[in-house]
């Protein structure tokens, strides 16, 4: 007879098998992030920004329109003032040029960068057409900065989000489900150790995480040429630290929860502040200084810092030491508490 393998190994193997045999789980883990990347890549294409400008059809509009068109880098449309205003309100145009006497009024929203750009470009074109001289000769030299596009910036955020979701849902929900099915109670009746069981749940989740994350990054690279800077080993280390942190938290959330509804409520409650504040879709540094200490105390904020540091800026171990220590620390404390408070039934 073959001697049996260790309980940790068998438990991890079982989890991996269950996961691979669950098409829905596969979709949420692989399909959903890929769809999200593709959708965001299409919504934020990799092109030089082209301002859209409406010229109100009042006397004098032909001159303005001709001046704006002369450069060839502005999309110009002539519309009635009403239509033009409406188009601006709905952000279909960045600027409305309204003829007024000999001059023009620019209608724009100063809080939108696109409006600013349109206003500067339109003004320059109109002034130059009227004969404004350029006192200094300048020329532009264009380069392509990797990692400067939104999609490049977004990808590490999506990776962080996936690690958070995978850890909290993948561990917490699975555990509560086993409790509801009385499978935990059945395990309790065997000599299997609690620590073996919890480590196996944690280990299987971490084992899923690494291929998941590399799939997202690979899709980003293949479809959008997103950068994959930094040392792969260091990246793996960041992913590992993030997984430990969120799997530990997932374990803690589920250690006594008896109902799936409660588990899902707790998980959403834990994820909500990080969804909003931790810099998945826009930088966490945009939040006011007053709440920065709170924002930075969130594990996902630190994970995203570390991921962007490695992927976009090629940072080294010493640069991301703080986030790594914090993630592993939070995960370790959560695991220790979960081990202490854990209930089988």
């Amino acid at each position: 007879m073959k001697s049996p393998r260790s309980p940790i190994f068998e438990l991890i193997l079982s989890r991996l098998r269950e996961f691979w045999r669950e098409p829905e789980a596969l979709f949420w883990v692989y399909g959903f992030p890929i769809l999200l990347i593709v959708a965001l890549g299409l919504a934020f294409p990799d092109e030089a920004p082209r301002p859209a400008v409406d010229v109100a059809s009042l006397p004098g509009h032909e001159t303005a329109a001709a001046a704006l068109r002369s450069g060839g880098d502005i999309d110009v449309v002539v519309n009635s003032l009403e239509v033009a205003r409406a188009r601006h309100r709905s952000e279909r145009t960045d600027l409305v040029v309204i003829p007024e006497g000999e001059g023009y009024v620019y209608l724009y929203d100063p809080s939108r960068p696109e409006d600013h750009l349109a206003k500067v470009m339109a003004d320059s074109a109109i002034q130059r057409a009227k004969g404004r001289p350029d006192p200094v000769m300048t020329r532009g030299e264009t380069v392509k900065l990797p990692g400067s596009r939104y999609i490049d910036w977004l990808l590490p955020g999506l990776v962080g989000m996936n690690i958070m979701g995978g850890g909290l849902w993948g561990v917490g929900f699975v555990l509560v489900d086993m409790r509801v099915r009385k499978l935990l109670k059945r395990f309790r009746a065997t000599p299997m150790r609690r620590s073996d069981f919890l480590l196996a749940i944690l280990g299987s989740r971490v084992a899923f995480m690494i291929p998941e994350v590399f799939t997202i990054l690979l899709i980003g690279k293949l479809l959008f040429g997103a950068p994959l800077g930094g040392a792969p080993l260091l990246l793996a280390l960041v992913i590992l630290a993030g997984s430990i942190c969120f799997c530990g938290l997932g374990l803690l959330l589920a250690c006594r929860t008896e109902r799936l509804e409660t588990a899902s409520g707790l998980t959403n409650l834990a994820m909500m502040p990080m969804w909003i504040l931790s810099g998945i879709f826009f930088s966490a540094e945009r939040f006011p200084d007053a709440i920065q200490p709170f924002v930075r105390a969130l594990p996902l904020t630190q994970l995203n810092f570390a991921l962007r540091g490695v992927i976009l800026e090629g940072q080294g171990l010493s640069d991301i030491a703080f986030p790594l220590v914090m993630l592993v620390g939070v995960g370790g404390i959560a695991f220790a508490l979960a081990l202490r408070w854990f209930r089988w039934t």
Partner: protein, 318 residues
């Protein structure tokens, strides 16, 4: 008591809400026997076995399992017992053999998973996912997970509830085979036929207390008569008269009434039945229905409590 697999004295369990599920239970299960806890739903059977299995804390009393106490030898006891709970939904995506390998890995020593599968007759289903098994096959798998650690003591909580007669019979065969190797089985059931067929000794439990203990034969014998005559009358009035009449008959060992139906326990049908019929006729009582059957544990329970084990009484006799 070295020859006892389980000793339990004055066992009590009071749930936090104040429900007294077990109220001073004494049990002694000899090694190598099959011991049954028989009782209606809610009698405290599951609470009792879950305390014996180390899954629930007792409120008070003493429990020894295989000569050890849960307080200081939990892991050792768990190595030596096997447990099948009343309802466990094993992982549906895992295959039968995979499930048994998983459970085998928890024990220091035990059976080869393939052997456990063979024991419960699931070898052909080795590669089948648990989710695709029938109810009976799942239950046999649950028993196999309890056997794979090669336990000295096997706990089964309502092992055949919800199974069809054929599936029940298959599981009984599995348990009998396990028994022949000198190991102990403790099972709970509310099926009297299951208890009668499988158990060497039975404790009848009701409302958290043991109300009877003995071999199936001695318990049935305690009702006073191996046979039951059931008579039904067209009116309650006639039943009343027949009930009063029968009190004076020496042949009737014990009597029970539900509605218009009277049940009389007697030692011998051939001697008693003609006499009973003659006496009823003389009294001018006409029968609406007459049935006879073997006395069972059900009758023991009825005699002790005045109630039936379960409401739906139509249990197929196999």
């Amino acid at each position: 008591m070295d020859d006892a697999a389980i000793v339990c004295r004055g066992l009590r369990k009071t749930y936090p809400q104040g429900v007294e599920a077990v109220r001073g239970l004494d049990l002694a299960v000899p090694r190598g026997s099959c011991f049954g806890l028989l009782g209606p739903n809610g009698a405290g059977k599951t609470t009792t076995v879950e305390i014996l299995e180390g899954l629930l804390e007792k409120t008070s009393g003493e429990v020894e399992v295989l000569g050890r106490r849960w307080e200081d030898s939990a892991r050792e006891i768990r190595e030596r017992i096997g447990v099948s709970l009343q309802e466990t939904r094993l992982a549906e995506k895992l295959q039968v053999l995979e499930t048994l390998r998983l459970f085998r890995s928890f024990y220091r020593s035990g059976l080869d998973p393939a052997e456990a599968m063979e024991l419960v007759g699931l070898s052909e289903k080795a590669k089948e996912r648990v989710g695709r098994l029938s109810g009976g096959q799942r239950q046999r798998l649950a028993v196999a997970t309890a056997m794979v650690g090669n336990p000295e003591l096997l706990f089964l909580d309502e092992p055949t509830t919800g199974l069809d007669p054929q599936a029940r019979r298959q599981l009984w065969d599995v348990l009998r085979a396990f028994r022949t190797e000198g190991r102990t089985i403790v099972l709970t059931t509310h099926y009297m036929d299951e208890a009668e067929r499988l158990c060497d000794e039975i404790a009848i439990v009701d409302r958290g207390q043991r109300i009877a203990l003995g071999t199936p034969k001695s318990l049935i014998g305690s009702v006073g008569g191996d046979h039951v005559i059931e008579v039904d009358f067209p009116s309650a009035d006639m039943s009343d008269r027949a009930e009063a009449l029968a009190k004076g008959w020496p042949q009737v060992q014990s009597a029970h009434r539900s509605g218009t139906t009277l049940e009389w326990n007697v030692r011998s049908l051939t001697e008693t039945l003609p006499d009973v019929l003659r006496r009823l006729e003389e009294a001018g009582l006409t029968l609406a229905e007459l049935r006879t059957r073997q006395a069972s544990l059900e009758d023991v329970f009825v005699k002790l409590t005045g109630r039936h084990l379960r409401e739906e009484s139509a249990i197929p006799h196999l």
